[in-house]
């Protein structure tokens, strides 16, 4: 009885530890446009369709400000998953845990400061997960 309970507890713990949010687990996000609730960032706020360095962005508005934002290249291939994390929130002790990823393969990560833009106006950090070796070049412009 005890062993069975323990096994069940371990199974639950493992499931929680490796849980992937539904949007990333169930939907095909590899090609633009991703399914709802994702929406084009340029349809939500006044920003260009394609942002140099990040691509054509989609986000589930419920996940703002952190995201994930899905970045697609000019051919509609998912190239990056981006998180936008307000500096003040981090300083206040806010954690951003268990964020979804657009694709499981990540070849490199860029992290840098951004002064703000429509949608995430406070100064924040961009955390950019690049999904293949050529992604950065395809998103550059």
């Amino acid at each position: 009885m005890l062993i069975r309970s323990l096994a069940a507890a371990v199974a639950v713990s493992c499931a929680a530890a490796f849980a992937v949010p539904a949007a990333a687990q169930d939907a095909d996000l590899s090609k633009a446009p991703p399914p709802a609730p994702y929406a084009a960032v340029s349809s939500l706020v006044e920003l260009p369709d394609f942002l140099p360095g990040l691509g054509t962005l989609y986000v589930d508005p419920e996940t703002l400000p952190a995201g994930p934002f899905l970045g697609y290249d000019h051919d509609g291939k998912l190239s990056a998953t981006i998180y936008m994390v307000p500096i003040a929130d981090l300083e206040a002790g806010t954690a951003f845990d268990d964020l979804a990823v657009g694709a499981p393969e990540v070849t490199s990560v860029d992290i840098y400061y951004n002064a703000g833009h429509p949608g995430v106006e406070e100064p924040h950090a961009h955390v950019v997960l690049l999904h293949d070796a050529d992604a950065k070049a395809r998103l550059a412009e």
Binding site: E46, L47, P48, P52, Y113, N114, A115, H117, E121
Partner: protein, 180 residues
Amino acid sequence: MNRRGLLALASGGVAALALRTRPAAAHGAAAHGPVLIEMRGSARGEHVGFAPLGLAVAPGALLRFVNRDASNSHTATTYHPSLFDRQRRIPAAAAPWDSGLLLPEESFEVTLEAAGVYDCYCQPHEMAGMVLRLVVGRPGDPGWEGAAPPSDDLPEAALAALPSVEAILADGPLMPAGLA
């Protein structure tokens, strides 16, 4: 000219005339055309600002704001109670203006008539210190109203970024650091 919007404002005559244009119009300045003020940003958005961020012009000058930041949208917005309930930081005789968000290469024009100091900001980037101080005419001109004093209404970064009137008059257009 593909005009996106037209906003005519009057205050004791024609105090300001503002209009917003699509990219093509931004390249059509006449020989004695508008004074250009660019909205700039670094490639990854670490730095944003007006260029210049401090400028002296004569009464009646036509200003053209152009967004040169390929990755961002910007506004040129005056501090005024009628715009987002901000404290007034333009001459009382002047009409306030707000360009609205300009996408890359979009532009906005405004004519300034009332003498004095005008402080403006970019709505999404005020917290990052993206502000602009315009000096129209010179101290002592009829109707001159000097700079508004520092206020808690402005974020610290915005207050720190505003150049002094004296520096603008003495040194000419002041360019933002890191956005040459």
